[in-house]
Amino acid sequence: MTAIALRRRTARSSKAHGMMRFIGRRLVMLVVALIVSSFIIFISLDLAPGDPLSVLTGGRSLPPAALEALRHQYHLNDPVLTRYWEWITGVVLHGDLGTSIAFREPVSAVISQRIGVTAELVLYSALLIVVFGVGLGVLAGLRRGFIDNSIIAVSTLLAAIPSFVAAIVLLSIFAVKLGWLPALGNGSGFWGTIEHLTLPAIALAASAFAVVVRVTRVTVRSEMEREHVQTATSRGIPRRLVIRRHVLRNASIPITTVVGITITSLFALSAVVEQAFTLNGIGAALVQAAQSKDFAVVQGISLLLVAAFVIANALVDLLYAVLDPRVAIGSRAA
């Protein structure tokens, strides 16, 4: 998680019309990344020990007709590249991800029944990160001393707690000891969903939150020390206005980036949190499919998560370039 935040986002192209070139380059990279990652997910079937057909059935014995259907569906007699082409065009054009052997229904149906929970969980977590992460980061950046120190201490502590440990601690305190919130399951209706997703969303947000707080604080503080801010202050512009117009507006660029990157990293992590709270989302389905060797589901959900991650990352990069044209032109963003 921290690793993603540490990534340097600097572009290499350095000519005029840098913006268009940057966007073009980034889009090409995006397509290449999508092709390569989908190919890796597809080819993993062949890398598995044993014959692909037995991997697809997960060692279950199926009637010959079903085996023949699988062989036909995955074009197992064709060369690898042909099979990949058939598979990926099926996915892109028809949303056809194959059939789940354990659930006995199309993978697309397995995903569409469960994606809502995952989306709600990630959205809730993202909201927590934006409101509390950025809010407390700005506060720590503006107020030195006790407030700053305590915010940093708390966020350092949170950064060290993996999501599944956070889940256990939250469960044992708020669900079991105090009984304030329900422990497991999805819940129904608006308030039911909020109630059931609060602890999972906090567990998912905890470590990402710390990264956002730290980056926000450092950015706000370094903006505060810049000359134009000091000039504005010396000209007698009220502190509120200086902070809003000069500090926060400039600080918003790196903060947007780090928030974007941390939120994209939540997609993959949600599997752990869903499993811990037995939420019925796609992450939990991925884990159960991996345990039961339901390979079509594993491929389908992996593809979806990787695609979401790659596209979101590209959007963050592009947004960064739009907000701060220096990135595209190639000079280092100060």
Binding site: M29, A33, V169, S172, A271, V306
Partner: protein, 289 residues
């Protein structure tokens, strides 16, 4: 603070206090890491009881309630202290292997890219950019699904997933280092590329490599424990910290959080200690450069 120590301590009292506090802190970090490594090697020999023998009559008996069982028992009446001591081995071994593999791979790729430059550099750079597309934990789940649950597949998957992060940091350092005079001097003397890289370039990157290795260890520890927590890594009856957090969840729901919490605390302590030590090494490296 006091009048006796006029002179230096009046000038930088805060800095001095910080230094003193930090050396205690880092001492504690070294201690934690040392104990964890010691347990990873000798834990199974030193464990007071069999970590897998269950005495159902002691189910959920708390700490210090039975003589010789200071941490009490888990849901199946197994000795928690013994399970934690034995579990140190798999919990530490996995991350160590990830570090070895990803550091070797990352160093090789970054030095090759920096040394050759040109198209080799841009091909390797693009390859690394694409690898970023895979969140480590997702790649680990995928490989566990393909190759079967266990420690081996997720370990290799994480090593591959972390390589781009390492290669990116090391590459820029290697490029900087390559531009230095001593490399040019060595080239003029007619030393082979392999000798210069092996004898001069890589040793000069060593400190950065160590700093990166500690960070990778901490990430790998969290991610591998998560994989074991999900039931895709180390398998259930085996004592492992990630597994214990998962198997302890039933206890948590019944109001006996000891198993999950103690294993979780072990993970958090080691991760924090390793992280702090790594940050310190990185800071020292920056101070020198």
């Amino acid at each position: 603070m006091s009048t006796v120590t006029l002179g230096r301590s009046i000038i930088f009292p805060r800095t001095r206090r910080r230094l003193a506090a930090s050396s205690v802190l880092y001492g504690v970090c070294w201690l934690i890491v040392g104990v964890a490594v010691f347990l990873a090697i000798f834990g199974p020999l030193l464990a007071p009881h069999d970590p897998n023998s269950s005495q159902l009559e002691f189910q959920f008996v708390g700490p210090f309630q039975a003589k010789g069982y200071p941490l009490g028992f888990d849901s199946q009446g197994r000795d928690l202290l013994s399970r934690l001591m034995v579990g140190a081995r798999t919990s530490m071994l996995g991350p160590a292997l990830v570090v070895l593999m990803s550091m070797a791979l990352g160093t090789l790729i970054s030095v090759l890219a920096a040394w050759r430059g040109g198209w080799v550099d841009s091909v390797l750079g693009t390859g690394m950019d694409i690898l970023f597309a895979f969140p480590g934990i997702l790649l680990a789940v995928l490989t566990a699904a393909v190759f079967g649950a266990g420690l081996a597949a997720p370990t290799i998957a994480l090593a591959i997933a972390y390589t781009p992060y390492i290669a990116r940091v090391l590459r820029s350092a290697a490029v900087r280092e390559r531009a230095r005079d001593y490399i040019a001097a060595a080239e003029v003397q007619g030393l082979s590329s392999l000798t210069i890289c092996g004898r001069h370039l890589i040793p000069n990157l060593a400190e950065l490599v160590v700093a990166q290795a500690t960070l990778v260890f901490a990430w790998a520890m969290v991610d591998l424990a998560a994989i074991s927590f999900l039931g895709l890594g180390v398998q259930a009856p085996t004592a492992d910290w990630g597994v214990m957090v998962a198997t302890g969840e039933t206890g948590v729901l019944q109001g006996y959080p000891m198993e999950s919490l103690s294993a979780g605390i072990c993970i958090v302590l080691v991760v924090v200690a390793v992280n702090l030590l790594g940050e310190r090494i990185a800071a020292r490296d920056e101070g020198r450069a």
